[in-house]
Every structure is written in structure tokens, then in C-alpha cells.
Symmetry: D2
Subunit: 146 residues, 4 copies
């Protein structure tokens, strides 16, 4: 299943070509992750308050067509991979009105100890959080990224 | 005396009118403050590492003409007011090539205790920092904002 | 009457103090204006497509308390002044949960000819648009800015 | 050969972890491309003023360690691929003080007709520009992305 986040392109997000600047996709993905994690009962702010970070290791985005000011966009997000060490999200952004593909991509994250900045195993460090993430995240987990 | 910070308008800072979006001025001012404070020997990052914050209480900006992608701008900054409780900066942004006025404005800041978020008197909390700020800042301090 | 816009603080909008960076308020105001103008039947994108711009001449913001990641905020917006030459919006940002005041301020805008960049009288240049703006905007127009 | 762009992390670019937010890398790359293109005599603003756009088709970034407020960073950029249809840049971002790797990645761009948004062959559409890009860009062109 995919999680859906709707957003409207802000004026400040446009550039001199009239397009939503491509760097905003990275921010929109984060928005979508925030909502997905909240939807499954593991708000990202709660994760950080327990000392567990989830920084981005890698992003990969393919742009297909521009989005414009006031365009309504839908970010369709699923979890492509989830282990006690890392989590990978996949995103497809489409125009709400037409369903036309705007861009797609993935982000890979590691679980880390905020204090030290070092990687950790979530199932050992915080079994209850891992349990909640795993059971809540299951319905957004895809067998393949296809 | 004024402190001068030079910057070039980034593509991502432009909007669909082709202008540098007006919200960027607030970020450019911060850049100018950072450099001014470093120039007088009180880096802002050092101030924060001693537990003293300097959040913005108020901003006021008047825009005169647009800046464009790749425009070189100069932020001319001075200290309009400096007490152990608060500091006010004044900014004039001009085009480097022509000297034409782009915008001007002010920001007012309080010294605060980062842990509690409450205001503090810098001369009592951290006399050495206040001393350094005062003696270093003097040359950028204007009698009037004129 | 006030127009209400709800938004959630994005991770990318936070700064190293954990606060929503103060420059975001300027972007949130723009979001609120966009929605208010759409609500009264004069979408800003439509205005620009007729060759009429509405650039910011002046902003003034007073910050009262920080907003944090995942905070739900409400921007309460009204029109403080509206003439064929210019329009002024006033904003109050509060936390949705508590109603606590985060910041308040105003932005002043001129109607301009996009091609030349020069000011124009909206009632002469585009009477129908002015008519629509005036009749639609009336319910958000405050007699005084109080 | 690599083109070097130096920048300092802005306060507004930090996030609640104290890191420069990962979306800024995409903006910094653009900054580096702008400078590289200007250095070889083909300013990006000039390209756009002839009706030729160079939008991003794809980005890929691998993050290695955080950058912090006031960190001086160097973006080392080279051209990984250049044809009349498209151009690919590769970036390595390091800390100026230590040389430590912060992140690396690539961006792929197509040459397009701004009016129609459609791809074009730069050597046919604008032979002189292509000639200048090719001869100027040669010294930043790597045989392999290694």
C-alpha cells in the first residue's frame, strides 16, 4: 500500500523558469516520510526524542515534468526496505488533477545514535520502537521496488 | 563603519517572476550578521556553545527593486543598538555593480539562555563575552540609524 | 473576518536551535495570501497571467515564541488596507493546539505591470479584476489594523 | 581538472539535528555549476537568455558525514559527460579545513527549448554556444567518473 501526502506548490518554491525548483522534491519527500511515520504511530519527533536519529544516507531522484505554482501534488510513498539497521523509502510524485508523473525516487536512511552519530541496531537499542515501526510499517512495505 | 558582505544570487533563490524571492533577504541578513560577529571576534557559533542564544524578536524590511539570478549583492551592515539585553542590526543591500539600492531593513535580537529560552543580561551571564562584543562591535555601532 | 490557513512545520524548516527558522514566516504568509486570494475568487496565478504583479514592498514581523517540528500552526490573515494601488495583509500565527501566539506582522504590496515593473492602478488596468478583488476581499477587510 | 567552489554553511541551512539539511546539497551543486559555467565563458543566465534551458533530469547524492553551521565547504565539480543533448556533472563536497568527505553525487541535465520545454540538440540549435561550451568545458571533462 502507498501512503498519500497532498501538497500545493508554494510561490517561494518556484524558480525563474516558473518551475517548482528541483531541490524542493527532497523537502517534499521528507514531508511525506513525516506523515507516513506519524500514520503508523512512530512520529519522527518521538524517535528523535528517544535519542534515535534517521539521517539520509542516499537520495536518487528522476524528474519527468515540471510542477508549477499552485499545482496540487500527491506524494505516493512506500517503504522499499526496512531492517533494524536501515530503512528505504520510495516516492512517486504526481499531479493531483491529472495523475501525470512529476518525479520519482528513493531515499535511504540509517538508524543512528544521536549523541554519538554512530549507526545502531534499532531492535537492540529500542525494541519497542522497532516493534511498532515493523508492525505499523508492514502495510506500506513493498516486496519489490518494481 | 559598515561591515560588507558580498553574495551572489543563487538560482534556487529566484522565483517565477525571475526575482530573488523576498524571503531570501532575511537569510542574507543572517549571513551578514554571522560575518560581522566573526569579524569582531565573537563568532555566533561560539556564543551558542556558551549557552547564549540571540533569537530574532522583530524584522522590518523595505524592498526597493528586484535582484536577479547571478546578481552580485553587497549587504552593508551596522549595529544600530547594543545593550546587555538586546542588539539591533541595520542592513542596506545594494547591487555590487551599480550601487543601486535593492532593500533595507533592521532586525532586533534578544540575548537568551538557550536552556530555558528566557532573556538574560549578557554582562552578568557572560561578562567576558559582553566585553568582547562591546569593544569589537563599537566600530560598527552607529549613533543613529539615520 | 479572518482567513485561516493551517500548516505543519517541516523538518527542513527547523534550525540548529530546534526552532522553525524565522525566515519561514515570510513564506507561510505568502501561503496564506495565496489561499485567501483563491478563496475570494482571484487566484494569484490568474492575476499574474493577466500581466499584473503584486510584489512585496515591505514586511514587518514580530516574533513571540518559537514553533517546532511537527507543530500545527494556523495563520490568521486579514486585509488591512486595499486600494487600486496597493494592498496590505496582516497576519497572526498561532499554535493550533493551544492558540498560543507565535508571531504577527504585515506585508505591503503594490500592483505592478509585470512587463515594465512599474506600478499601476488596478481599477484602470483591469477593472473586472479590481471589482472581483474588492467585492470578494471585503469580508476579510478590517476597518483598522488594531 | 576539477572546478572548486567554496561556501560557508548558513544558519538557515541547519536543521534541528544541528546539521546542514541534506536538501541544501542540491542547491550547493547548482551554485557550483553556475560558477563552473561562468568560468568557462558560458554563463547559465546567458544560455537561458538565448532560449536554451538545462533542467535537471536526475540527481543522485551519497551523504558521508554532516556539515555544520559556519563550516567552510569546498565543492569539487567536474563534467562527467557532455553531448549536444545532455550534460552530467559530478560533485564531491569536502570540508575546507580537513578535506574530510561530506558527500558526493551527480546531476544529469538535458538541453531544452525553453519556449516548448522540449529537448534540443545544442550543436544544431546554437552551434556557437555549443562550440564555446565544448572548448571551455574540455578541461573539466573527466574520461571516467571513477
Amino acid at each position: 500500500m502507498e501512503h498519500l501526502t497532498t501538497l500545493t506548490v508554494r510561490y517561494a518554491e518556484t524558480d525563474r523558469m516558473g518551475f517548482a525548483h528541483h531541490s524542493n522534491h527532497i523537502v517534499w519527500w521528507e514531508l511525506a516520510r513525516t506523515e507516513l511515520l506519524r500514520a503508523i504511530g512512530v512520529p519522527y519527533s518521538e524517535m528523535e526524542s528517544t535519542g534515535v536519529g534517521c539521517p539520509v544516507l542516499e537520495i536518487h531522484c528522476r524528474y519527468r515534468q515540471p510542477a508549477y505554482y499552485e499545482d496540487q501534488l500527491v506524494v505516493r510513498t512506500h517503504i522499499a526496505e526496512m531492517t533494524p539497521l536501515r530503512i528505504r523509502f520510495a516516492y512517486v510524485i504526481v499531479k493531483a488533477a491529472s495523475g501525470a508523473l512529476v518525479a520519482s525516487g528513493e531515499s535511504l536512511h540509517a538508524f543512528t545514535d544521536i549523541a554519538s552519530g554512530r549507526p545502531l541496531r534499532l531492535d537492540r537499542r529500542h525494541p519497542e520502537l522497532w516493534q511498532r515501526l515493523q508492525s505499523g510499517g508492514e502495510r506500506y512495505l513493498a516486496a519489490s521496488e518494481g
